[in-house]
Symmetry: C2
Subunit: 204 residues, 2 copies
Amino acid sequence: MNRSANQKMNIRKEEIYRVATRLFREKGYNATGMRDIALEVGVEAASLYNHIRSKSELLQQCCFRMAGDFSRQLEEQEQRNSALALEKLEAVLRFHIRAWINRLDEVLVATHEGKYLEEPWLTEFMQERRRYMKRIEHIIIQGMDHGHIRRAEPYPIMLTIMSTVRGIEFWHRKQQEVSATDLEDGLVDVIIRGLLPIPSYHRS
Amino acid sequence: MNRSANQKMNIRKEEIYRVATRLFREKGYNATGMRDIALEVGVEAASLYNHIRSKSELLQQCCFRMAGDFSRQLEEQEQRNSALALEKLEAVLRFHIRAWINRLDEVLVATHEGKYLEEPWLTEFMQERRRYMKRIEHIIIQGMDHGHIRRAEPYPIMLTIMSTVRGIEFWHRKQQEVSATDLEDGLVDVIIRGLLPIPSYHRS
């Protein structure tokens, strides 16, 4: 195949991926058929198989593409030796937020539909997610050891960093009212301030 | 029908609801059939219709039961006139966290599968969610007006309060390592501290 035909194949493959990811989000992975994907792409269902092997492959592509991107950026932060742990966490949080602002279909599918991966992909994906969460916990513990993150159970802090982005799904329906920048800064502020080693707040 | 037969009907109806909610979570609403529900309850599919009208009714029940419980507890907080806004928000957050700890199937189905409600229920549910989020924003603004929550865009703060619980889904797979109480206190601490009117933290 010549270069141009190859490029066309790649463009079509990426288009199938985009359409499938959107449908998995809208209808759920289990309720989406290859026929639905073909209809939206505008080809016969049979011709999809020139580009991909199965519906499952499309879910794999989504989950592992996201996992890879998230893991690579976390590695970048881990290697910033001169940065404080709090700065690393802020950068990780901003990366998460931007992914939920700019790549909502993909993050939602990886987050909610990943459980429908076939084996061995399911186990690999779950392990990768656990490793990712452990690596974030590790940065939190470093920050506590250096005294610029308050001493506390690191696990709930990690969970908060992982999940604060989830509300961004609501924001997409009303983004005209709050800008992406204000959203990002606002979310970061709550979480990062919440990690500072300040005295306990008063409770009634 | 006598009282005891009536009670039995209610118990069976509640059992169908529990099974359906679990299956909607595990397989997704669209991929769950009445046949799947009947199989797990241990009855013929046809006899389910003695208890409920449709699969859609079960999803409605889940979404509006959760919405009702959440709305009622928020109202309780709104009516605590002597409490600080921050104390009301803490109570709301603890209620959210406990729901995600104790009623995971129901909150996950209401959160992820609610979009598959039929009209007019879908519109009603979405409106109820928007109203709920507005009411939380209102408490945040009250706290800012009284000076015990720092001035900031209230919308991202509300989103953080709404979504920090989502990570609890991960915790359920490893709850033996962190107790429910430590989880709750840890999550509350990050968010509530993040709202205090302290000077800005340093950034590099």
